[in-house]
Amino acid sequence: MANKLINQMGLPKSIANIFTARNVITAKDALSHTEFELMELLDVGKEEVTSAMAHVSEVVCPPCQTALLLLEQRVRNECMAGHLPTRLKGLDEALCGGIPFGVLTELVGPAGIGKTQFCLKLSLLASMPANCGGLDGRVIYIDVESKFRSKRLIEIGINSFPEIFLKKGMAQEMAGRILILRPTSLSEFAESLHQIKVSLLQQQVKLLIIDSMAALVLGERDCGASRQQALGWHVSFIKYEPYRYHGVVVTHTIFTVALAIYLRLRTSTFFIEVLILKACRSLAEFSRIPVVLTNQVRSQIGDESRMYSFQAAQSRSIIKDNPATYDSHLVAALGINWAHAVTIRLVLEARSGQRFIKLAKSPISPALAFPFKITSSGMVLLDDDGVEMKGPEISTINCQGLSLSSLAVSSAEYFLTKNT
């Protein structure tokens, strides 16, 4: 929309020609100037500029829908009015049906807690035929850390839906709908996104899982400035423009040069994260599929609670600095920009040996935590009513009472049981 050409918008010929003559070709060029600037640039009077811009704006403006129309479209066209049921009763009820279409859902938690298990189950559910409650579609699973195990997938399938899975050829058909991609770098991932976008419409892809997003983005952070510049990848619906550091006069001191490179690197990485985010979001939204991302955790570094300036002024002792909790209090690896961008955030944590899945951020659900365990049929909730959590505690990530080695063992157990 923004790249629509001005001379195709039905403006009176005279003014359209003036726009072209002054190199204001697309709507974006025109709207990137204030009205006063356009008056000076095009050398026309205020009224003419205002009416031309009103016309351009009307053409470029997104269409108007009512909330009722949105609801009706979803109810009419989509499974469960736009939700993928997870078959976890408490979670599905809290999420008004399941993982919502068209938005990003994030799964965050420490290693070994069950994020990949959850993703495996979701892939199965999306590939199941509609009469069994699935989405009857293909799944694209982006497996950055090579954690996907087909054996485990089949095991979950057989144990959760025996009547479907044991039918002849069913397992092959369903597993055949799940496509696993293993990009080794961000540029490869960007290429895959591009291809996914193309195939989405043609091949009935109904679910996109990225496991894990953090590994993909953070893996790229340590590379030097030159490699950043060499990332010439191009995502078709977002143009990546390397940050041009205008007007920097590289002076003689090393300090200034180092600063310039540092800033370039920092802003480049920031741009990469943001671009990936925008790509995933627009993919989810315009093809109306659920997109699930997993996120890693890292230990807390010092007191990470951030306050506003008016809070800091008021009281110094609101947050007690308790270093003893740092190891068990984890924080999501990707920062606040991700937190803003995902719509649903599911936090998986362990407290006193019991694992919980918490609805940390969801516009449609109360703040509930459900205890769960991992069995041969994947994730199983131990209590469908959930525990209501007050305050920001719903967003904290604990890892108490479960050492990482024991987590690894308990998941490996299930790989070994069905060894036949």
């Binding site: 204030t34 009077g45 704006s57 909330a67 009722l68 009015a81 925008k278 800091a312 937190a339």
Partner: protein, 349 residues
């Protein structure tokens, strides 16, 4: 120079000056044909310039102390008139009594309010609650208006709007039962679908579309006069990443804010802008601050939502008329409501 005040193109201005017309009086006294000949434009253009000049000079006339004029400057309003207007200015309730109290009744029409907070604190919830509450009929103390919801992030969830709309209707029914016990027929005739129908939704995917939409809103609201609130969620999202030229970004943001302000004043509606937060390094520590900082000075009020222990609070950060105070609120399945804790309600700073 007075000629510089005329809204005409730069080249015409240049020609006028070159031909010796330096004051508006001089232009006003000339005849169209002479003007056309002197500055080498067509007759119609010359008469256009003339009419602009006479309009501008008569506006100037009123400024000169000429004795018996009551209006000192055209287009102004006395403070007394404004006071009378303000008394009757409408507010949109937020469904939380404490929040309404610190806001002086609710979100005010004709004003621009910016609301910012960390992810998950309830900005979109407040936005949706206001979009529903603006539609409360006048019999129940509301404005009976429609809402425009501009979504830049894709965080508008229709299921939630339905939940809040249904709760609002239940509350209205409860209210009518309590206060109109004698009117049995006073059942609320509003259906949740009616409420959803009156929320106009725009999904904006780039800053270009955002600016285009704000420009187009003038025409849209002319055609839909009962729109009483515009909610932008969130206003700075598209401006945070795509820009190389920061100065341009500031200019565009300021112009957008001014246009919204004009819309608010012209159509008597409330503008609510939701904003994200980011961290900044100040005085030796990291602090939270609203994105793009003081991006616009034309926000009348600024409210920050934050966590205070286990409770959500709203703090009035900037307002020309409201006292700096914070109030607790909560987000429930029915929408924004009073906080359930029994501790002291409103804290004055």
């Amino acid at each position: 120079m007075e000629v510089g005040m005329l809204p005409i193109s730069a080249s015409k201005r240049g020609k006028l000056l070159a031909a010796g017309y330096t004051t508006l009086d001089a232009i006003a006294r000339a005849s169209p044909t002479h003007l056309a000949r002197d500055i080498d434009v067509s007759d119609s253009e010359a008469s256009e310039i003339l009419s602009l000049a006479t309009k501008a000079s008569s506006a100037l006339e009123r400024e000169r102390p000429n004795g018996t004029h009551t209006a000192v400057v055209g287009g102004g309003q006395t403070a007394w008139d404004m006071l009378n207007e303000e008394k009757f200015s409408s507010c949109i309730t937020t469904s939380c009594v404490d929040l309404d109290n610190i806001l002086g009744g609710g979100i005010k029409c004709k004003e621009v309010t910016e609301i910012g907070g960390v992810p998950g604190i309830g900005k979109t919830q407040i936005g949706i609650q206001l979009a529903v509450n603006v539609q409360i009929p006048q019999e129940y103390g509301g404005l009976g208006g429609k809402a425009i919801y501009i979504d830049t992030e894709g965080s508008f969830m229709v299921e939630r709007v339905l939940q809040i709309a249904e709760a609002c209707i239940e509350d209205m029914a409860e209210y009518s039962h309590q206060f109109h016990k004698d009117f049995q027929a006073c059942d609320v005739k509003v259906h949740p679908n009616n409420i959803l129908e009156n929320i106009f939704y725009f999904r904006v995917c780039s800053y270009t579309e955002q600016i285009a939409l704000i420009n187009y809103l003038d025409k849209f609201i002319m055609e839909n006069k009962d729109v009483k609130i515009i909610i932008v969620d969130s206003v700075t999202f598209h401006f945070r990443q795509d820009f190389d030229d920061m100065a341009l970004r500031t200019r565009l943001l300021s112009e957008m804010a001014l246009k919204l302000m004009k819309l608010a004043k012209k159509f008597c509606l409330a503008i609510v802008m939701l904003n994200q937060v980011t961290t900044k390094y100040v005085e030796g520590s990291f602090q939270l601050t609203l994105a793009l900082g003081n991006w616009s000075h034309s926000c009348t009020n600024r409210i920050i939502l934050f966590w205070n222990g286990n409770e959500r609070h709203a703090f009035i950060d900037k307002s020309p008329s409201l006292k700096s105070a914070s109030a607790p609120y909560s987000v429930t399945t029915r929408g924004i409501r009073n906080s359930t804790s029994s501790s002291k309600r409103i804290k004055m700073m």
